[in-house]
Amino acid sequence: MRAQEKTKTARYQLRYAAGIYWVLDMWQSGKTLVRPVPLNECGAFLFRLLQEGASAEQMTSALCEEYGLQEADAREDALAFCGQMRAAGIKL
């Protein structure tokens, strides 16, 4: 089996299965599933940073370092990611 990627927080769990990272809301208790947010490798990288409380600036620097992006592109990506997480109802 592929290694289990699991980062625990009080509310969200990041799991890796079938080639996708899934952000699960562990606090849900309703009848209908709060659909997990599927992420790719880069999304999971940013999500982990977000969980650790990183700011948009810190995420930008990390993206530049890890993926060799230009700072402007990295900032755009980091902000877009944070916006997408908010839109998906993820509150960190």
Binding site: M1, R2, A3, Q4, E5, K6, K8, Q13, R15, A17, A18, G19, I20, W22, L24, M26, Q28, S29, G30, K31, T32, L33, V34, R35, P36
Partner: protein, 437 residues
């Protein structure tokens, strides 16, 4: 249990599936080799981001690559039919021999399995909250409970939720409460030991009043009743992906899994997924006391032969380490024939409509006993009155022939022929009989 236990048949140690050329197809051998590697539980670090490249994995993947593209496709198709495709996700995703549309379709299927696992887990959590708030004691069986033994529980394919409510009054209350909460009672109820309800999303929830359907053996059924009563005292909370669920203690959980396999085996059969459950379950850290408890449950049920066969299949074909095996293993030849039977069955005997039932022997009395048992299952209430039996036998027979012709589109002769072949395998298990199997 140590590797020096006298019941271990030394001939099995180190057995390689290469030797099964006379019985197994090369695709079957390959699928088993891939699963064998996947089910071997090893400690991996959380940072490890790629599938571990062990020698066993390399060899299994090599075996796959040596096959023609159509054979490789057959391997994955078989994995899908046995509900174990998601275990092979890595091999599927990196496979270049498959036609891209087919590969994409199957990758999607693996992801649907994962999503469905999450859906079932959280729906289970919701239902448990509902029932427990109403003071109803409930236990999660099979699916989520079995998935807990896997390193990645979400990869175990599951289609429904199985809950066991031991108290009869509570069982009625649980069903009524679920109905009140919008779960609809399924129009067709196929079993006497559980009620099927459906969520608005179409997910089936089976509320069990018993571990399994009654078997055609009074003593076995009486003992199963006793164990079910005892099991109330053997419930623990176990976390599945950090969600705590009430499940049976390991020996009782294993016993229930065995009964579930036996029940399906005696009908149309079961596929590889249930064997995979057995393989991972026995790689947990069992205490000798737990093992002994299970052995007693199995011995008193007189299903040692079946437990041994299931264990043999797992050791011989799916790589369950011998030191983990809870029961003595049986001969390699017998095991191979059983595996062939399981490979034919696919998930819950879906592959062949001629696979209806299996008898405990091949004599005339076995046919009569099975026919009578089917009558009792079809007419559980009326069947209690012996005076009605002749009428019920006629009705059962007519119904059987009618359904074969109109629904199953298979001849009754074909069903009986298939049942005879499978029954020959069962004879050696000495089901429900006293003494050594």
């Amino acid at each position: 249990m140590s590797g020096k236990e006298p019941w271990i048949e030394t001939g099995i140690i180190g057995m390689d599936m290469h030797m099964n050329t006379t019985i197994m197809t090369k695709e079957e051998v390959c699928l088993l080799a891939l699963l064998k590697e996947k089910l071997t539980i090893r400690v991996v670090s959380a940072e490890e981001a790629v599938a571990p490249q062990t020698d066993a994995r390399k060899a299994a993947v090599q075996k796959l690559r040596e096959l023609s593209p159509s054979s490789q496709e057959a391997v994955f198709a078989m994995a899908k039919q046995h509900a174990v495709l998601s275990f092979l996700y890595d091999e599927l995703a990196e496979n270049e021999a498959l036609q891209p549309p087919i590969r994409e379709q199957w990758i999607k299927s693996c992801r649907q399995t994962v999503l469905q696992s999450y859906r079932l887990l959280f729906l289970t959590k919701y239902i448990l909250q509902l029932l427990e708030n109403a003071g109803i004691s409930v236990v999660v069986l099979k699916g989520a409970s079995a998935a807990a033994s896997y390193p990645q529980p979400e990869l175990r394919k599951s289609g429904d939720i199985d809950l066991f409510v031991p108290d009869t009054q509570d069982w009625k209350r649980a069903c009524a409460l679920l109905e009140k909460e919008g779960f609809a009672k399924a129009e067709e109820q196929h079993a006497n030991h559980h009620m099927v309800l459906q969520s608005q999303e179409g997910i089936e929830v089976e509320v069990h009043s018993a571990f399994s359907e009654p078997f055609d053996n009074v003593k076995m059924n009486q003992y199963m009743e006793k164990v079910m009563t005892m099991s109330v005292q053997h419930v623990v909370r176990r976390e599945i992906m950090d969600v705590p669920l009430p499940v049976l203690e390991r020996p009782y959980h294993a016993y229930q899994l065995l009964l579930h396999m036996l029940q399906h085996f005696l009908r149309s059969g079961f596929g590889l997924k249930l064997l995979c459950d057995w393989v991972v379950l026995w790689q947990e850290n069992w205490t000798e006391e737990e093992r002994e408890t299970l052995r007693q449950l199995v011995k008193n049920s007189r299903i040692e032969g079946f437990a041994e066969m299931i264990t043999s299949l797992c050791v011989v074909c799916l790589g369950l380490p011998l030191e983990c095996a809870p029961f003595p293993t049986r001969s390699v030849r017998e095991t191979e024939h059983f595996m062939k039977e399981i490979l034919e069955a696919e998930e819950f005997g879906k592959s062949g409509i001629s696979r209806m039932v299996v008898m405990r022997g091949t004599g005339l009395t076995d046919y009569i006993r099975e026919f009578h048992h089917q009558m009792r299952l079809t007419y559980p209430k009326a069947g209690r009155c012996a005076l009605l039996w002749p009428v019920l036998w006629c009705m059962t027979f007519v119904g059987f022939v009618y359904r074969n012709r109109t629904l199953r589109k298979v001849s009754t002769k074909e069903i009986i022929k298939k049942a005879k072949r499978r029954s020959e395998l069962v004879e050696g298990l000495r089901l429900f009989k006293k003494g050594d199997s």
